[in-house]
């Protein structure tokens, strides 16, 4: 079946603007993760959704970052008032669930965000 889909593939924005990044997980996957990959910080966890439970937002770097997941499927990561340090590749991953045998995460190709 189809893999994890992310859009846009690349996004260039001006400092101070808001951006929305979209992730469409693999059908039937109940867990969804956002990670950020930057030159300075490497790969870091941002936020995690599991079914209808409250999301784990412990990795969000500031209150300018937020994410939602509608209908247990598509997720949108929003960055408000973008700063140059937000420039990075944003990766989304999904998995069947948090059960012991269902924890393999499948990744999308990411969105490269450039803040000018």
């Amino acid at each position: 079946g189809a893999g994890v889909s992310q859009s846009p593939s690349n996004k260039v924005t001006e400092k101070g603007k808001d951006v929305e990044l979209r992730c469409d997980p693999i059908s039937g996957h109940t867990a969804l993760y956002w990670y950020r990959q930057s030159l300075g910080q490497g790969l870091e966890f941002l936020i995690y959704f599991q079914g209808n439970s409250a999301p784990d937002k412990s990795g969000l770097p500031s209150d300018r970052f937020s994410a939602e997941r509608t209908g247990g499927s598509v997720s949108t990561l929003t960055i408000q008032r973008t700063q140059q340090e937000d420039s990075a590749v944003y990766l989304c991953a999904s998995s069947l669930g948090s059960g012991v045998a269902k924890n393999i995460q499948y990744f999308g190709a990411g969105t490269r965000l450039s803040v000018l």
């Binding site: 995690y48 784990d56 948090s98 924890n103």
Partner: protein, 115 residues
């Protein structure tokens, strides 16, 4: 919190040869998994191999195998019979079952397979 160290920023290997990538991690958890992911220039992370921490037997997946030393918190990846398509960044990543299996990544090792 978990920390992950990949001490080799870059490695090169001749086609058909073997290369071993090192990874050490620090965790207080008993229940966790360990993963190696590959990231080619296309940017998409691809699972290479998974190891369950409660299993002593080392995982193997075709030309890829691991040497898991739980007490030493070491999880190295061996690539045998290297192919040009193995050229990529490789990331070691433990996951915490108690924390939704979110991954903590090492800094990565760039592997270049030379013809």
């Amino acid at each position: 919190a978990q920390t992950v160290t990949q001490s080799q920023p870059e490695m090169s290997v001749q086609e058909a040869e073997t290369v071993t990538l090192s990874c050490t991690y620090d965790t207080s958890e008993n229940n966790y998994y360990l993963f190696w992911y590959k990231q080619p220039p296309s940017r998409q992370m691809i699972l290479v191999i998974r190891q369950e921490a409660y299993k002593q037997q080392n995982a193997t997946e075709n030309r890829f195998s691991v040497n898991f030393q739980k007490a030493a918190k070491s999880f190295s990846l061996k690539i045998s019979d290297s192919q040009l398509g193995d050229t990529a960044m490789y990331f070691c990543a433990p996951s915490r079952v108690a924390a939704g299996n979110k991954l903590t990544f090492g800094g990565g090792t760039r592997v270049l397979v030379k013809p």
